[in-house]
């Protein structure tokens, strides 16, 4: 089994602890004075969703999680269930709204994403770093207001709301950074 040394630790790493797969959701590097480094991590259990606080010393190691990553695309939503398809095998996989978390905001039909399988079952997905979404509802901007530091809420095709510049209009396609949830740019009118 592959192992990760503390120098490999980063957000997004999938590791195995006590026989269960975890996702590193936070990693804080701490090094007091000239002492040994500490890696303060928050890890989410990929099966149960619970969050674990763990601190590691420089030189410690963790096993890589026994998971499989596949390229998939989002198909549709059925109540609280989100349906995806494996791009290679065309097999369909379902995730609960809890497993999808905040990423529902980016899920439009056909969106390419990566999925993680554990023992053949899907446990989590992540969207690409940037997603383009159509604005379906927003207040009209004040005339002549082209400043980008004035923001307003805009509703997009997935039903999610983001904060964007005042010049945005309904029908615009905007790019959102899924890592921060922030508006990046207007892609088209």
């Amino acid at each position: 089994m592959a192992t990760y040394k503390t120098s490999d630790f980063r957000k997004g790493l999938k590791v195995q602890i006590d026989g269960e797969p975890y996702l590193m959701i936070e990693m804080n590097f701490v090094k007091p004075g000239k002492g040994n480094a500490l890696y303060k991590c928050k890890l989410r259990n990929l099966v149960r969703g619970t969050v674990l606080d763990r601190t590691y010393k420089g030189g410690d190691a963790l096993e890589a999680a026994d998971v499989q990553e596949i390229a998939a695309q989002y198909l549709y939503r059925q109540g609280e269930t989100f349906v995806f398809m494996d791009n290679a095998s065309y097999e369909q996989y379902e995730l609960s709204s809890e497993q999808v978390g905040d990423y529902w905001k980016y899920l439009k039909e056909g969106l390419p994403c990566s999925m993680v399988l554990y023992n053949g079952n899907p446990i989590t997905m992540s969207p690409p770093n940037h997603v383009e979404l159509k604005v379906v509802e927003c207040e009209p901007g004040a005339k002549g207001d082209t400043a980008t530091n004035v923001t307003k809420p805009v509703k997009v095709e997935t039903g999610a709301e983001f904060s964007g510049p005042a010049f945005l209009k309904e029908g615009n396609v905007i790019k959102i950074d899924t890592r921060t949830g922030e508006y990046v740019e207007r892609v088209s009118n």
Binding site: F29, V30, P32, G35, N36, A37, L38, R54, T55
Partner: protein, 330 residues
């Protein structure tokens, strides 16, 4: 249409943060010029490097043959300009400062970038207290603080944890950590005294340092002397000090070790500990030892992390906010 990473050419610091950096650089040069310090430049690449268990220098190969770029003599990117600056002191320049880049492998986080800017200075004739006075004066100017507090390492531990860092046992450290619900690495079961001290410092003491105004922590455990001299009292302490603001370490100073045989012994001990942890050994011989044998004047030196000073001034939560291009955009 832009590809995903086409925005990575942009700086991560705001223009305002970069303006603050420029202003602080001017302020630093004025501060040292007013006090008769000579600004110096020393090599980033050196044959010598600090030998420390917890400092990992980046190695650079000086390619001798363009067809074999990885073959050639090995040099080190400096982890601080300490050795070269002490050689200048030994050569007879009594007050020097430098603003330079330093490199430390594997140090990346909210307060660390593997390449960072150090302000380092030395003044011959200074003892521990004169060294702290000068650091306090500079911190007051840069951070706009009317006063800078001072607290010994021992008092800080006793106040925050109720344990004596110089005399308590490993079991007492473990108990203090558990009483404060510190999340303990599993590997702490085999930890040394210094590893316990570091963990407790990071988790329980540092967050309280410099809360209302800057604070200088001084008189470190002798086992953490690095290049500081040890004051022979009971228990012995290293004449080392660090500046803290809002729980963040900004500077590290030493009343400098002068005895080359003591430095050689520390180098050997550090290499033995490195070997025990599977780390590469670092060169124990250096031109600093030659300078010390020739005669390093009694002095105190301080290294100040410029990027962290800027974080403290601007209120940045991450070092990216004060660097034009952090490592992932370099």
């Amino acid at each position: 249409m832009y590809e995903t990473d086409d925005f990575d050419f942009l700086p991560t610091a705001s223009v305002t943060a970069l303006e603050t950096r420029a202003a602080v650089l001017r302020q630093l040069r004025d501060f040292f010029a007013q006090r008769g310090f000579l600004e110096v430049e020393t090599p980033l690449l050196s044959r010598d490097t600090v030998v420390d268990l917890h400092l990992d220098p980046l190695a650079v190969t000086l390619t001798a043959d363009p067809d074999r770029p990885s073959a050639g003599p090995r040099m080190w990117l400096q982890t601080s300009p300490e050795f070269a600056m002490k050689r200048l002191l030994a050569a007879g320049i009594p007050r020097i400062f430098q603003i330079t880049k330093a490199f430390r492998a594997d140090e990346q986080g909210a307060r660390h970038n593997p390449e960072f800017t150090l302000v380092e200075w030395y003044r011959a004739g200074d003892g521990l207290h004169e060294g702290m006075d000068l650091l306090a004066a500079l911190a007051g100017e840069l951070l706009g603080a009317s006063a800078v507090d001072r607290c010994s390492y021992r008092d800080a531990f006793q106040t925050c944890l109720g344990v004596d860092p110089l005399t308590a046992s490993v079991e007492e450290f473990a108990l203090a950590a558990r009483n404060r619900d510190v999340v303990l690495p599993r590997s702490m079961s085999a930890a040394t005294r210094d590893e316990w001290l570091n963990l407790l410092l990071a988790e329980c003491v540092e967050p309280h340092l410099g809360k209302t105004r800057p604070l200088i922590l001084f008189d470190y455990p002798a086992s953490q002397a690095a290049l500081a001299r040890v004051r022979d009292e009971y228990p012995p302490v290293a004449e080392r000090f660090e500046l803290y603001v809002h729980g963040m370490e900004l500077a590290n100073g030493y009343h400098e070790l002068l005895d080359p045989s003591v430095l050689m012994a520390r180098n050997r001990a550090a290499n033995a500990e490195r070997a025990a942890r599977g780390k590469c050994s670092l060169p124990e011989q250096s031109r600093l030892l030659a300078a010390m044998r020739y005669g390093l004047p009694a002095c105190t030196g301080v290294a100040l992390g410029l990027d962290r000073v800027l974080m403290a001034i601007t209120g940045a939560k991450h070092i990216r906010e004060v660097l034009a291009f952090p490592l992932d955009r370099a």
